[in-house]
């Protein structure tokens, strides 16, 4: 049942009161004939009041109850007899409330004006609800006060609804103002007047004062970018005709000459016959988002170009692992289409035997957000599998959440073949070196031995033949040394099993000294050495380096000066630097690099040598990640340095 408004109630009560008045008057006139009529009217009065859901009562001029309707009696849970002649104090109202109500009744009595108010009240059932009430004076014909009526209504639900509405309006206002550049409009379609807030007006370069007074919708269209106008018009029209939702993204021109991107949403309300009445809505300024989107699209386009320009196959997946883009190379190689490959479709170009491992790795990465790399075969359009090194990396947002995955597949089939080929060539080279050492030396042995035989049998003591024989012998010796050194060199360069462990430099030097023992003794050389550390390398290989360096120091000594060789070691940053210093003939600094070249010799005839010794040293040192260099002063000795990594504490 619909509740009557307060005004309605007052009117109804008035009419009831009028009825009562008439009854009284006729009674006063002593028209007892009308007694029955009066009774009838009073009954109607009671019935009427009893049907009203509102609370109704009357007060006499002393502020005492003279009547209360059934609804009010139910609230009090008292019969009518108990309340007649009592005031609110007597009924046990809370003293504050009772005082207020009695005061308000007095006010009506003294001012003959209505008093409206609101109060919470706890009824006999213990429920507290909010009531709106009106005290009204009942005046007689001569404007004197006869009594005071009160109507009260339970407004608890309405108040709650109003409160919630107010709050949501507040929230809306807050949201709109926080939204940045947001504006609202309300279009009176029939009158073609758009009422909008100042923000909305400014966005469309319209004077806010004009806008508040209402502006035709066409004025707003003028500001919309010509390119977007038809679409907006069409959608607005459609919404207005069908009474539906309207949404559009479009640009509005600004006075500065640029434009803003707006997102507009509205809804057209129609009357019962479908004519549009009002069309309210909101707009958001989405310029920043649009520009950011555009920048992102541009960047993505750049990345795509980049991804298309690389020799690898590349792809991107969303955070769940669905691949949504491949570069052209992927399609070219696999002969597939995006439709086939989308999401997890890539599995069909994988080797079924390897696929479970690939899936496991990929799913692990998706679960952990960690990158991974893996080598697996991918089937080409020709049906052949090739081997690919695959790198997969996550793209994370500022909070570390994975937003995308990037992957690349590098064809390493050829690289693998090359590696195998290199491996094979290295092996062959070693074999060759072995064969060369044997097969090249064999003929030399023959030359040597039979030259001796010739001399022995026919030469006798012939001095010329003896000299020829010695030349042959020297040639053979030199050739043997060359072969030996070449072999050593080739081993230093090509040995596959490189043992990088801990090299004891002290032991290496001692071994070199013992190999060169006779020459050291013959030359009267004095070799001094400081404490030498352990380094990363191999003791026997480094002994070879010391042999070469010491041998050079002995070889290139000054005539008639006993060689003095000083071996020392110093720490430079993260390296040990070993120095082998002599007091020999030295060399010009400009040759310092040349002497490490293959077959490079500074002293062609004066000193024997193959020109391979330092080249071998360089290869050995470089193999262990070190460097070797020399300093020389003509006539004033030479110093050879080499640097190597120290042994980590944990490796000692």
């Amino acid at each position: 049942m619909e509740l009557a408004t307060t005004e309605d109630l007052v009117a109804r009560i008035r009419s009831l009161e009028k009825l009562l008045e008439e009854a009284r008057e006729s009674s006063a006139r002593g028209n007892h004939k009308n007694e029955a009529d009066f009774q009838r009217r009073t009954h109607v009065f009671d019935v009427l009041l009893s049907t009203l859901p509102d609370l109704i009562c009357t007060f006499d001029l002393d502020g005492r109850f003279t009547f209360a309707n059934p609804a009010l009696l139910r609230l009090w849970q008292k019969p009518l007899e108990e309340i007649i002649g009592k005031n609110t104090f007597d009924l046990g109202y809370p003293p504050d409330l009772a005082a207020r109500i009695q005061g308000e009744v007095q006010t009506v009595i003294s001012t003959k004006r209505q008093v409206r108010n609101l109060t919470p009240f706890t009824g006999g059932d213990g429920q507290t609800r909010v009531y709106e009430y009106i005290f009204s004076p009942v005046l007689t014909g001569d404007n004197s006060l006869e009594q005071v009526t009160c109507t009260a209504r339970d407004v608890t639900e309405r108040r709650a609804a109003e409160e919630s509405l107010r709050k949501s309006e507040e929230r809306l206002t807050l949201a709109l103002s926080a939204g940045g550049g947001v504006g609202t409009w309300d279009w009176d379609v029939a009158a073609d007047r758009v009422y909008c807030d100042a923000r909305f007006a400014r966005l469309f370069s319209i004077d806010p004062d004009d806008a508040a007074a209402g502006t035709p919708v066409s004025a707003f269209f003028r500001a919309i970018h010509p390119g977007d106008r038809p679409v907006v018009e069409e959608r607005l029209q459609l919404a207005a005709e069908t009474g539906g939702e309207f949404a559009a993204e479009y640009r509005v021109m600004q006075q500065a000459g640029d434009f803003k991107w707006l997102y507009a949403r509205g809804r057209c309300h129609c009357d019962e016959s479908g004519n549009p009445l009002r069309f309210p809505g909101v707009v958001f300024d989405i310029t920043e988002r649009k520009l950011a989107d555009e920048a992102l699209r541009e960047r993505e386009a750049d990345l795509r170009v980049l991804a298309e320009s690389i020799p690898q196959m590349a792809w991107t997946a969303d955070e769940t692992g669905n691949i949504f883009w491949y570069n052209q190379r992927w399609y070219d190689y696999t002969g597939t289409t995006l439709e086939e490959m989308r999401g997890w479709g890539w599995q069909k170009v994988h080797d079924p035997d390897v696929l479970p491992r690939v899936l496991a790795e990929w799913k692990k990465a998706l679960a952990t957000g960690e990158p991974f790399e893996m080598v697996f075969p991918i089937r080409g359009a020709d049906g052949e599998f090739r081997s690919f090194l695959t790198l997969v990396k996550p793209v994370k947002d500022s909070e570390g959440k994975v937003t995308r995955w990037f992957g690349s597949n590098t064809d390493i089939t050829d690289q693998r073949k090359t590696e195998e080929e290199l491996h094979r060539v290295n092996r062959e080279l070693e074999e060759f070196a072995y064969v060369a050492s044997h097969d090249l030396q064999e003929p030399l042995r023959m030359v040597n031995i039979y030259t001796q035989m010739i001399l022995k049998q026919v030469g006798g003591q012939n001095p010329e033949l003896m000299q020829y024989e010695s030349f042959v012998r020297q040639g053979v010796k030199r050739m043997e040394t060359l072969i030996h050194d070449l072999l050593t060199f080739s081993r230093a360069v090509h040995t596959e099993e490189l043992s990088i462990g801990t090299a004891d430099l002290h032991a290496a030097l001692t071994e070199a000294e013992s190999v060169l023992g006779a020459r050291i003794q013959d030359s009267g050389a004095e070799i001094t050495a400081s404490v030498l550390p352990r380094v990363r390398g191999d003791t026997s290989q480094l002994s070879h380096v010391f042999q070469n360096l010491l041998s050079n120091a002995l070889k290139y000594r000054k005539k008639d000066v006993a060689p003095k060789i000083k071996v020392s070691c110093a720490r430079a940053d993260d390296r040990w630097v070993v120095a082998v210093e002599d007091n020999g003939i030295g060399f010009e600094q400009r040759y310092a690099e040349r002497i490490f070249g293959l077959f490079k010799r500074l002293h062609q005839d004066a000193f024997s040598g193959t020109g391979l010794g330092l080249a071998i040293c360089q290869r050995i040192i470089e193999r262990y990640g070190g460097k070797i260099w020399a300093e020389g002063r003509p006539g004033d000795g030479a110093t050879f340095y080499f640097s190597l990594s120290p042994v980590e504490e944990s490796q000692k």
Binding site: Q441, L444, R445, M446, I449, Q452
Partner: protein, 132 residues
């Protein structure tokens, strides 16, 4: 008179071996196999009528054409009569691998061919010691 089988493809070395034996006055009968196949052939027919006998000593080059010296030695050891016959390896190879391989097959001496004439002649001395 000791019977010596020499497996050697280099004629120069054959001559030097003869020279070394003569220099040390070793009475000998020398049978020369000029490659691995000839050596195997010798072993297959030795002792039978019209063929040379089982040798008292084998001088074996390792780097033989057709069949490797090591295979010749293995075949040699299969003959019951040659089981204890001393073998001197005469080779230019000096790799540890070859030395180990020969030690495993049981050789009396590993003689590395020197490039000095006098050193080569010392082979005669070694033969004398081994054959008593």
């Amino acid at each position: 008179m000791i019977k010596i089988l020499l497996a050697e493809d280099n004629q120069g070395d054959v001559l030097l071996v003869k020279q070394a034996l003569e220099e040390h006055h070793i009475l000998h009968e020398l049978y020369v196999a000029r490659d691995g196949a000839e050596a195997i052939e010798y072993l297959a027919t030795m002792g039978s009528p019209g063929h040379p006998p089982c040798p008292d000593l084998m001088l074996l080059d390792l780097n033989l054409p057709k069949i490797d010296g090591a295979d010749v030695l293995r075949e040699f050891r299969k003959h019951r009569s040659c089981l204890l016959t001393p073998v001197i390896v005469v080779t230019s190879s000096d790799t540890q691998k070859d030395r180990n391989r020969m030690a495993d097959l049981g050789v009396a001496h590993y003689f590395r061919k020197p490039s000095d004439l006098d050193d080569f002649m010392k082979l005669g001395e070694i033969v004398r010691q081994i054959t008593g």
